[in-house]
Subunit: 236 residues, 2 copies
DNA sequence: AGTGCTGTGTTACAAATCGTTACAAACTTT
DNA sequence: AAAGTTTGTAACGATTTGTAACACAGCACT
């Protein structure tokens, strides 16, 4: 369960973690959280420290009196005191916003393992290879190769951006969405980070970066990955 | 968690108990122990009675004021008074040095059972050989061999790091997590230990350490073991 | 068609992060 | 005790990422 007053975070975490095989409930505050807890068996709670009304820390403390459900606390970057307080409130782990969803996933898995709960099905979800144009993008091996077999060095940001695109072809993705999907970050006004990364990625994968065919610009809207993407599962 | 000023005991107990399926943090004195307790959920503390600075007995008494974490006290052979003092300080059990690690394990299990905590899954899970790329990693024999049968010398740290990776493939592991998983240590700010160990390990297992395919860097996130890992169980 | 405004692409450079080298300290083996 | 090995630290180099500024493209209005 994801407890955060920021609707965008709730929606995006639900989408991301659902794709990893988890079933996600969401709540905007402590009251809603307790209602969900009353109705559903919850294996782990991702709880924002800064909530309106009752804050995450006291919610966590109250929860600890009656429940052993593991808690991963979302804090504000750099607040070491909040981190320590989170643990003293009974949290099992913490992660600072802005965060990379993959790191959150790793922490969730670690916490569940620590509490002897079985992660969802397997890592098969990660054994996917996405094929487009003359490229093969291996998500679990974090590798891009051309059809002829030669590997292209992609930086962390470039790989994550390309993965976000390839997983959602033919959808216009705003800069805000791309930042969140690829980097787990929140956009600030007039932010040009994504434009820079798109330009760099185009230089690595487009035949003619000045006239891109894979990643196309939607003026005022963001970018769209227009390549036809096919999923090539790896047979075991 | 193992609290003992004797580094040898810390390392050996960590290795032995890790092989039994426990995750071990270590501390050299009470101050370090409290730091670890502030950051991590600890199920049981193995605490040496004779510590520099504040002794184990008073550490245990202080701990008992704020925590129910079970404590197994390490005492000196023949000190009946220490044994009695240990219990009066709140220890849950004691064992005299020099001790048989298997007896310590039995006492740990007994204490955990008494406090209704479930030990981790069976130790069968640890009689395992993990295969990836052209390598075979034997966890219980602590050995890495190539598919052609030649052995590679790995130092303790290198082996533990590789095991941590191979047991959690496709998951981004932060430096903090790696330090904990592989070394039972807590990261200090701007710590580069893991980076150094990763570099050394890459030189031993990667085909081209400058363009690593097994251990990949996630900038700002840590490292991820992207090799496909298969479990080859050892037939009993 | 011309003009002005807004949005995007690119370049240059600075900042941040990670990889490597060298060497010292700690540990292990002979 | 000496030699060998492992680990950690500091500093420098390499790579990645972000920012700012300028150039160019697209769109709306006249």
């Amino acid at each position: 369960m994801v407890v955060d007053d920021d609707r965008e975070i709730r929606v995006l975490l639900k989408q991301f973690l659902s794709r990893q095989g988890y079933r996600i409930s969401t709540a905007a505050d402590g009251e809603e959280m307790n209602k969900v807890l009353g109705d559903w068996q919850i294996d782990l709670i991702i709880l924002d420290l800064m909530l309106p009304g009752e804050d995450g820390l006291s919610i966590c403390r109250e929860l600890r009196k009656t429940s052993k459900t593991p808690v991963v606390m979302l804090t504000v970057m750099g607040e070491e005191n909040d981190r320590i307080k989170g643990f003293s409130g009974g949290a099992d782990d913490y992660i600072a916003k802005p965060f990379n969803p993959h790191e959150l996933l790793a922490r969730i898995k670690a916490v569940l393992r620590r509490t002897n709960m079985v992660p969802p099905a397997s890592q098969k979800a990660y054994d996917q290879v996405l094929c487009f144009d003359t490229w093969r993008l291996d998500i679990s091996e974090r590798r891009l190769t051309s059809n002829s077999g030669t590997m292209v060095d992609l930086s962390t940001a470039e790989f994550d951006l390309l993965a976000a695109f390839a997983e959602r072809p033919q959808q216009i993705l705003s800069r805000d969405q791309l930042l969140d999907l690829a980097r787990g970050m929140v956009e600030i006004p007039f932010d040009r980070k994504i434009d820079m990364q798109v330009s760099r990625l185009r230089h690595k994968i487009e035949e003619d970066p000045k006239h891109p065919t894979l990643i196309q610009t939607v003026r005022g809207g963001g970018y769209v990955f227009t390549a036809k993407v096919t999923l090539q599962g790896v047979v075991e």
